[in-house]
Amino acid sequence: MANAIQFKVNGLAHSFDGDPDTPLLWYLRDTLGLTGTKFGCGVGLCGACTIHKNGDAIRACITPVSSLAGTEIRTIEDIGANGLHPVQKMWMQFNVPQCGYCQSGQIMQAIALLKSKPKPSDDDIDEGMAANICRCGTYQRIRAAIKAAAQEPA
């Protein structure tokens, strides 16, 4: 495929030759079967589809596959694949999830936040997490879990 787009998902090489406007979200979910990344709004407003591109948190629903050449994509399925990440551990310890649908995105966003702010203040958490909606209202526990995870060795 001359025009195929090459990138990695969770360490594995992939080549995409479909409609280059296809959002990464649907490639992950419908083509690769990686359904841990969720569809919530389709326009980058809710954060349910948050994944990592080269370590940065981005919204898969507004990221066309055409923009991914040469990048490394990481999804929730790869976080904790070899033992739970401290953020996931604290999510469990603080009983964060209710319905849980947004939590893949919340966890991906929290991991990215802790990378840039290893000891986040309340303002850092507000700023870092405000793009991720939780309709069940687990925010208080999300905040507590992030602070606790910041105390853990990464």
Partner: protein, 761 residues
Amino acid sequence: MSAIENVSRRGFLKGLAGAGAFVLGACYAPEMLWGQQSNDARTDDARTDADKAAFHPNVFVGIETDGTVWIVAHRSEMGTVIRTTLPMVLADELDADWKRVKIDQAIGDRRYGDQNTDGSHSIRSFFDVVRLSGATARLMLIQAAAQQWEVPASECKTDLHVVVHSASGRRLGYGELATAASKLPVPTKDQVQLKPKSAWRYIGKGMTSYDLTDLVTGKAVYGMDAHLDGMVFASIEHPPVFGGKLKSVDNTDALKVSGVSQTIVIDPFKPPPAFQPLGGVAVLANSTWAAFQGRKKLKIDWDNGPNATYDSDQYKKELQETARNPAKVIRAQGDVDKVFTPTAQTFEGEYYVPLLAHAPMEPLVALAEFKDGKVHAWAPTQNPQAVQAIVSSELGISKEDVICHVTLLGGGFGRKSKPDYVAEAAVLAHKVGRPVKVVWTREDDIQFDYYNAVAAMYMKAALDSNGKPTAWLQRSVFPPITSIFDVNAVYGDPPHLAQGWTDMPYDVPNLRIENGPAKAHVRIGWLRSVANIYHGFAVQTFTDELAHRAKRDPADYLLELIGQPRTIDFKGVEYPNYGASLETYPWETGRLRRVIEMVIEKSGWGKRKLGKGSGLGIAAHRSFLTYVATVVEVEVNDQGDIRIPRVDIVVDAGLVVNPEVTKAQFEGAAVFGTSVARSGEITAKNGVIEQSNFDSYPVARINEVPYQTNVYLVESDAPPAGVGEPGVPPFIPALCNAIYVATGKRIRELPLSRTNLGKES
């Protein structure tokens, strides 16, 4: 969302083929639950792992010979952890080791009794049923061991997952006893003894979600994640106006989109809409994205129908005008008119709450397959029996031939009790002969909801020289939920009037409670707390206004209006009490007083030093049989931005089965209430809903919600009551009452985004 509504739904659904799903009452445990034979007639695709286990004394539990205990969760999991909590109750009575319990999610099946997971009643309706189920299995295991040891059963008891003969020290594991137990007759209910409270292992202590690890690793399977090989994806363009119909469609460009295979017209509903598909044009494709893209290329001409002129601004004025005029009396004592004389000191207030959308994080989605005359559907549904009913009605097959597999729900809040979206998938699958997954966009979700009713309330009180009411009139007007089952319904039905309106708890000598008519122009439906939202807002805001007018402390004043502890007498009044009997769940003002007194103490009411621009507000409300008092602290800056540093909530929900999870429900309710208060508003122009995604219908984010919510549960031996919904109603007026203290601005209309809370320049 109350149990009794099932009864009213049943009445309205009588004409529909699918009415049968509602026949089983929530509190009813069918006799067919009991006995091994209960499931034997079922085909394999309708049997659970519990059914298939060596020992399955009733429909809720099965024990394998290796000791694995299957417990059936027949309620839907949308975040309340009910899928864990009810099985945990059963495991407690069984003396089962939780580590050896596997949860088996039930399909829709009338043998479980009611499965509609709404109305905050799963625990209260099924606590006794699942306890009895577990205790029955335990008794049979004891009998099997006694038989084997040739000792009286009375000498045997259970310890964790084993039967023990204390005198001889012999022990047999549950797995070892399963086959022998399966050969015994199932005891009758009166032969079964429940554990005393002192012997409870799990009840009252609680358990974290069975699914917790899956929820943090992306492995949890929601409806959105359901998959069948060979499935096609569908996105549906619905009529933009409720009740509209397709005139013509040009699909030429849609079919040119790569991946799109075909378009299918779905017929409009036949009034009343109930849970039928809205109709429209479905685009089928080999991926969700292709279906979305194809749909954008449809060229459609619509007949917008009878609601084409619906304008929510105009409608608001109509509701408010109706509320100012005498209406249907639903409860009265004394004579308010005799007190409302021209010379009397009176005070009036008008309150307004707009239409609200549910917006669960997972948009509506369903996967269906039609094969060999049967439909299999995988859906995030709160009500799999309603799925059976509507699919059977749409396709003309029997309900038993609709197998509804219940996935995890990415939020529900009442929306997923209404299975129109599952019916769409079934109709399409039936037409194309392949599995079809219907995916709603967020825009579809917000524009084609069953909205929480818009409501206008009018309040009037006559006051004595101390500012205490001597007469109280309250009148609400809202398009009723019953309008989706009966196009002529315009008055509130008793179960919804009962939600914080008929049961206004103040001890006032002259009282009149009224309800006026309103015609619906959109689908109205249950949303977390339902009518309690607008009723609670009006009553608790008006009360606060009267307190400030009388220069009284609002908490003291509230207690004074409630009066001395008493049981409210509903003689001669239609008060369904959330489907519960008034003997078991009386309306006790003493319990409301107690949560208020406790929240005064816990919140430091009257003692906390607050800065300029800050305020505390209080409100109390009983809903879903649970008594809640809430104090909210708010800060409002000069620009009118609000912060909510702290919330204190005291809850008397009777016996609390899973306390940590219960606290989380009230934390979540404060957030849900924040969304309603700050920005919850659906409006319409020319019949078209003006909001479409989280930009135009914002819900609260981490930087906008209460920073610290403290939840206190009252220790109680009263029977268990609801916990999913009751936190929402008092939160909203408590917040608005706090805003009044902070700014001097009285909020009589929601949402807050309609009011400039900043300092006027």
